[in-house]
Amino acid sequence: MFRFIARRTLSALLILLVISAITFVLFYVAPRDPARAACGKVCTPQTLALVRHNLGIDDPLPVQYWHWLVGVFAGRDYQGLGHCSAPCLGYSFTNHEPVLGLITDRFPTTLSLSLGSTVVFVAFGVGTGMLAAVKQGRALDKIASSASLVGSSLQIYIVGVVAMYYLSDEWHILPRPQDSAGFTQDPAAWFKGLLLPWLVLALIFTANYTRMTRSQLVETLNEDYVRTARAKGLTRRTVFFRFAWRGAMGPIVTILGLDLGYLLGGAIITEETFGLHGIGALSIKAVRDNDLPLLLGVVLVAAAAIVVANIVVDAVYALIDPRIRLA
């Protein structure tokens, strides 16, 4: 296990390094000048040069990237702003705040949104899928299958806006989404503020998990080893949970890991729709403001979330399925 984690961590770092280099290059491929935004309305060539110097973008591209890398591993000094300790992801061009600080400030919202909605969509999605598989071909199965088809066709930017308008503004059933209260500060306000985003996000994801769970279970229930277990006289419950369910969960865990990684990297549309201040909203800001350090930071977070999720999925997969060994 240790060798597995060490090897995967090393390869993850390599992947992140490559991603950061690609992001760096791609940023400068676009015909845009991040210095313009800080150059005022009447931007003279002298002022523009000064801004480029202030932002540290007057050096050649490889030098800039090298400075950034050094900052990540050894920290970096910024004129007028002081020392930025390692891992220093730089200072935001537009906020003039350490990128790492901005990310850690935003991450709790993204984490809350991701974990909360995951609990809801896993519980409902897997639960409904199991029921549909057990009641295969009956009314419940048909309703669940049809509803999941509708659910998977919905888009969060429509459902979210409509849900907010009616459930919060018109009918006052659910509170308006907000993320000003942290879990540790005010758990009740935290729960109420995120309830609607959880439900809407879960509505979209639940559909996929219902369909996937159902199809995996239906397939597994017809496997030879399940039939053998039944033939041996094991109870229906034991056969279902110990053999069929466990066998069906492998692919679902894989997808769940990737979904969670995606959500932790920033649920961009969800956060924008509900006005939440997470990593997703931060990434939109970075792109919109031509803010390279911030963009690099959020891209790395998103990539790291996916990479880590993959490692965790691989490990969990081995626990679920004894046939798989970590080597």
Partner: protein, 594 residues
């Protein structure tokens, strides 16, 4: 997503971004309105005058029915980009800066939107001498910072000298240029941190006077000094780059809490004396800003009007197109709106370097389908047709219609075709660009524009540019565009800040704002000559004449609209007035109803 606000405001200072296009069908009520007649817009064009010493003496006039106490909540999509006055240029920053930054002069806004330039920190709008090369201001008594220390003339000088520092690149540059005589003013003076002061600013602590010695005569220094870029900063509490995070207040409120991109709270500055302030009232105990909700969300919350949203206003982003119809057609909602024209002008810059024939530029003006464009924007409530370079809020502006746009707003393609024929340019290719992704409306207008140009005998080629790099591309002098959507707002309501940056040929450079690249000797000379006129009446007349002459003799732009914006507020908000200067609510006039 709407056009990047930061990029959009590169071209517009006083008018902030947010939703730029409205989709209603009633009209603005300004006296300049063409072909409209309903009553959605009620704010008249501002008349700006220079106030007297009495006008500059506090306290500010009371807002009828106002009472003290409570909290006003403001909702906006983005945080303020800067809080350090020397780094403030754009209007959405200025809306909040009004609460804690004070300058030598400022604008006193009467109900209805008429404005007077008055002394803010100064006792009046200054005394000009030496033919406009010397200006002297005297500070009021009783001015204090939020820690109770006295605000001195040295603090005022310090604020202006900070504008030379290497980290204040975002702010205005007028006064620095006038004081040093160089646009490369940082090569002359590097700011106050080396221990040196500018020779051209003289302070007298005992007399509380500050005197500016300019290299060239300027009759409008007192206007320029009203910009927040020239706000006072306490010498003792200047933290240089870090001041942007924690500025010290001289106004009625101080910043208590600020979580970047999330929220900000301002509370009363107990050391602010209303008797020293002729501009601001201070009714709420505090203001809270919530950053994040886009215009649509903010509008829906204010429509729902529940909880603390009853005490909320839209901070600087107006009612978006999706809700404007509902807002202005529902009496209860309409009664909770403030609206007005954005300062400045939206226009299409004609690249004079590529479109060299005047008759072709005139033909473009005749052919341009303003009516169809405004219909896409939402009809008359989206704004008024523009026919002049100077917007209606500019002092001394004289209305004219050189290309018959008020009589034929749909475009006179026959006249355009005749001009093209006369020039031997029938079938001339015209490459038109606009910021793609900024607004659905621009994508729609490209069709009516192309159709009109085809009908007039042009060969239109539409080449949209992605909005985040739009200005970077069109502000390159070797760009390959013939007509470019653009917008510009004045830095103070005087013609100089509209005409000089846009048409002075000596400013042409990559990244400069003379997007038309008009470089004509007589225009350059006239700008220089008019800028030196210190008599207000003569100056205004000269600029108004130049406005008309440029459009008639050079036609470097196609004026489009003076755009209108609607803002919504909660039922328990009082004193909601549209700020004709910064195109948002005047925060310091708001009060919380019981």
């Amino acid at each position: 997503m709407s056009l990047s606000r930061r990029n959009f405001v590169i071209a517009t200072s006083v008018a902030a971004g947010g939703s730029m296009v409205l989709s209603a069908c009633s009209s603005g009520g300004g006296g300049d309105t063409a072909g409209s007649g309903s009553s959605a817009g009620t704010t008249k064009y501002s008349a700006v005058t220079i106030g007297t010493k009495d006008d500059s003496t506090g306290p500010a006039p009371e807002v009828a029915g106002a009472k003290k106490g409570g909290t006003i909540h403001a909702i906006g999509p983005d945080d303020f980009s800067h809080l350090d006055p020397q780094r403030i240029y754009y209007s959405w920053n200025s809306t909040v800066a009004n609460l804690y930054v004070r300058c030598l002069t400022g604008y006193k806004i009467a109900p209805g939107g008429s404005m007077k330039l008055v002394g803010d920190l100064a006792t009046d709008t200054g005394t000009m001498s030496d033919g406009g090369k010397t200006w002297t201001f005297t500070l009021k008594d009783g001015l204090k910072w939020e820690d109770g220390s006295e605000l001195t003339v040295d603090d005022v000088r310090h604020g202006i000298e900070r504008g030379f520092a290497s980290f204040t690149t975002e702010g205005a540059t007028y006064v620095q240029t006038w004081l040093t005589g160089s646009t490369d003013f940082r090569s002359v003076y590097k700011g106050p941190y080396g221990g040196k002061h500018l020779d051209s600013i003289v302070t007298d602590t005992a007399k509380k006077t500050i005197t500016f010695h300019l290299k060239t005569p300027r009759g409008d220094l007192n206007w320029a000094l009203a910009m927040h870029s020239y706000g006072a900063v306490p010498v003792k509490h200047d933290t240089k780059e870090k001041y942007d995070k924690d500025p010290v207040s001289a106004g009625p409120y101080r910043i208590k809490q600020h979580s970047v991109d999330k929220s900000m709270t301002l509370v009363r500055n107990t050391h602010w004396d209303p008797k020293t302030d002729a501009i601001r009232t201070a009714y709420p105990d505090s203001f809270t800003f919530e950053f994040g909700p886009e215009g649509l969300q903010a509008t829906d919350r204010l429509i729902a009007d529940s909880g603390t949203d009853q005490y909320a206003v839209m901070a600087y982003s107006g009612v978006p197109a999706e809700r404007i119809q509902k807002v202005i057609s529902t009496p209860d909602l309409k009664s909770r709106t403030a609206n007005g024209l954005l300062t400045g002008l939206y226009y299409y810059a004609i690249n004079c370097k590529r479109v060299t024939d005047l008759r072709v530029r005139q033909a473009l003006n005749y052919a341009w389908p303003l009516e169809q464009i405004r219909k896409i924007y939402g009809g008359p409530s989206a704004g008024d047709y523009a026919t002049t370079i100077l917007s209606p809020d500019i002092a001394g502006r004289v209305k004219y219609d050189a290309y018959g746009k008020l009589t034929k707003p749909q475009g006179d393609t026959a006249k355009a075709k005749a001009l093209l024929k006369e020039a031997g340019k029938l079938g001339q290719k015209i490459v038109y660009t606009y910021p793609q992704g900024a607004s659905d409306a621009y994508d729609k207008t490209k069709v009516v524009i192309a159709n009109a140009l085809k009908e007039a005998g042009f060969d239109p080629v539409v080449k949209p540019v992605e909005s985040t790099s739009y200005y970077d591309q069109i502000q390159q002098i070797d760009n390959q565009f013939d007509v470019m959507w653009f917008g510009w707002s004045p830095d103070w309501p005087a013609a100089y800040t509209l005409i000089q940056p846009l048409f002075d040929g000596t400013t042409i450079a990559n990244g400069a704002n003379n997007v038309s690249q008009l470089n004509v000797k007589w225009v350059n000379s006239a700008i220089k000559k008019d800028a030196a006129i210190t008599d207000t009446v003569k100056s205004e007349a000269a600029w108004a004449a130049l406005d008309k002459e440029i459009m008639q003799k050079e036609a470097p732009i196609i004026p489009e609209t003076y755009q209108r914006r609607f803002y919504l507020y909660g039922t328990k908000v009082g004193g909601a007035e549209f700020d004709p200067l910064f195109s948002a609510f005047i925060l310091y006039k708001l009060y919380a109803k019981s």
